[in-house]
């Protein structure tokens, strides 16, 4: 069952397009990573899906509600972690949570508040002013606020931005816990590791949707396998010879490494090594190149920019 569906969802601010023609479907139980650089339209998309701003074109359905029409019902069943925590610094953690929880009909207020303060590890500090909290604690409290009414869909806008590695790790751990509970989560981030670790699928966005796939599929789709030959030193003669080999499709130097794409990366390998050695190259090792998702992302964005110009 689809939890979020968007149909040509677009939002313009004057002449700038923040989001253009976004069409995607997110199934129940998924954690979707919404990945893009600054200004890619992540926050704008989340705001449209959360019924906070209207699309200028297209529409979206979240848990059965049109986000531009059934705003009130929608707000009862979604939770959102906004990009800034937006808490009341002069109130205690508990008061903050009680306040926001009081707007949802039919919830066990005290029970829910206690449950999430405990889950987020803030129970001990429940009566301290939020102004005295660290960034990580504030973020966890904001996460508690997003969850306190047990929303069907959770939107997280860059949940670890600005946190130190330890605090970010804690937040990621919490998100993984939520994923295991089978919650529907829409998570925007510009951190690839985060998306890879936490998400079941990743949408790459840069105003337009550039790709939507599992982390593994994204890799496979955007990078053919590449062979790395580590040599003792850079050698022009080796390059000459290798370029002439019929099964070498692409080749380049990276330091003293040769990076190659072969017609058949398994079977052509012995031939390749033989040719290099015969040309006088001193081989230290042969391996396959590993791509971090980062490269997928940079490459997609570069392609998009290429298309624009």
């Amino acid at each position: 069952m689809a939890v979020i569906e968007t149909f040509g969802l677009s939002r313009h601010f004057g002449k700038t397009a923040a989001v253009e023609d976004l069409t995607l479907t997110i199934e129940a139980g998924e954690v979707l990573g919404f990945l893009g650089p600054n200004g890619a339209g992540k926050t704008t998309t989340i705001r449209m899906l959360a019924g906070m701003i209207a699309p200028t074109k297209g529409y979206a359905i979240v848990a059965g509600h049109r986000t531009d029409r059934d705003v009130e019902q929608l707000h009862e069943i979604i939770g959102i972690l906004t990009q800034t925590p937006g808490l009341y610094d002069r109130l205690s953690a508990r008061r903050n949570l009680e306040y926001f929880a009081s707007f949802y009909p039919s919830i066990e207020l005290q029970f829910q508040v206690e449950k999430y303060l405990k889950l987020m590890g803030l129970w001990e500090r429940r009566d301290s002013r939020v102004g005295t909290f660290s960034k990580g604690m504030k973020q966890r409290l904001a996460l508690a606020r997003a969850l306190v009414h047990e929303p069907k869909v959770l939107f997280l806008d860059e949940p670890t931005a600005g946190l130190d590695p330890e605090a970010a790790g804690e937040v990621r751990h919490l998100i993984r816990t939520l994923r295991e509970e089978g919650r529907n989560i829409f998570l925007s981030t510009h951190n690839l590791n985060e998306a890879e670790v936490v998400c079941s699928r990743i949408a790459v966005i840069h105003t337009r949707l550039l790709a939507l796939d599992t982390p593994e599929q994204l890799r496979r789709r955007f990078f053919r396998r590449q062979i790395v030959v580590q040599l003792e030193a850079l050698d022009a003669r080796v390059m000459e010879v290798v370029k002439k080999l019929s099964f070498v499709q692409e080749v380049r130097w990276e330091g003293s490494q040769l990076i190659l794409e072969l017609s058949d990366s398994e079977r052509n390998r012995p031939e390749l090594v033989k040719a290099i050695v015969e040309a006088g190259g001193r081989v230290i090792g042969v391996s396959e190149k590993q791509y971090p998702l980062e490269d997928v992302y940079l490459r997609l964005i570069r392609e998009e920019k290429g298309n624009e110009s």
């Binding site: 906070m52 906004t82 937006g86 002069r90 008061r95």
Partner: protein, 270 residues
């Protein structure tokens, strides 16, 4: 549900209001200043100028109208006539209290939430715009009203202490009660709504307050009109005035709700 939400907003606003030194000071100091200034001014006028002040044209006109409104005044000696006149005029000075208090509370509560980002989180909850505004309006109007009434009480007590007690029957009139219990609430709500309107454009509380303080001008004009005796505000006139401001309240509430469109807050207020 709405009642629970409004109550929740109200209590939270007060918790924030009274933990902020500036706002707490405004709520308590403004009334003190208004009352203190009024008393000093009246005391100085009656002590040093006395009945002779009545010979100026301005006071002549005002006094004539006062005598029409409250005939008993004509029997009093000149310097007591002056006192009654000044004490009556102080009525409208009290309007400065709800005006300034409500504006400060409104702008403070909205601009602070806007800047901290809590407003955005709030707008993603099922709270309705009118519930939010009404909660905030009450949070501003109730302290404003209470402070005005306390100030009026303090003013009367001080007047008694200064030995002006015999004159109270000429001061604590229907007009006085109408001003306190009809005009003041109407003015407090209008001030609050203007505070909201000012906040929707401003980037910091001071800017919002400056915009909203425009409402102080009509109040000052009202005081001026009464002092110069151009119009003497009889109970009927005060009633009409309260009614007019009540209508303005309604219009400004609708304007505020419109200005408070969630989309524009999320998009423009950043």
């Amino acid at each position: 549900m709405s009642r629970r939400r409004i109550r929740s907003i109200l209590l939270k606003e007060w918790a924030l209001l009274f933990t902020d030194v500036n706002s707490a000071l405004i709520v308590t100091l403004v009334p003190l200043l208004v009352v203190g200034q009024g008393i000093v001014y009246i005391w100085l006028a009656s002590k040093f100028a006395g009945g002779s002040m009545l010979t100026t044209q301005v006071f002549q006109i005002a006094l004539q109208k006062l005598v029409v409104a409250i005939p008993g005044v004509a029997q009093l000696p000149a310097n007591e006539q002056l006192l009654v006149l000044l004490l009556n005029q102080f009525n409208f000075f009290l309007l400065l209290i709800p005006t300034m208090t409500a504006i400060s509370v409104a702008t403070f509560s909205i601009v602070e939430e806007k800047l901290s980002g809590s407003l955005e989180a709030l707008l993603a909850t099922p709270v309705k715009t009118w519930e939010l505004l009404l909660g905030k309006a009450l949070a501003g109007a109730i302290p404003a009203l209470v402070m005005t009434w306390i100030s009026a009480g303090v003013f009367l007590l001080v007047a008694l202490g200064l030995g002006w007690g015999d004159l109270s029957r000429f001061v604590v009139t229907a007009g006085w009660f109408l001003t306190l219990f009809l005009l003041t609430p109407a003015v407090a709500i209008l001030s609050f709504m203007l505070g909201v309107a000012g906040s929707s454009r401003a980037k910091e509380p001071r800017g919002a307050q400056n915009t909203a303080l425009i409402i102080v001008l009509p109040v000052l004009a009202l005081i001026g009109i009464q002092i110069t005796g151009i119009v003497w505000f009889t109970p009927l006139l005060i009633l009409l005035l309260a009614l007019a401001i009540g209508i303005a309240d309604f219009i400004s509430l609708r304007t505020a709700v419109r200005l408070f469109r969630r989309e524009s807050i999320v998009v423009q207020w950043r």
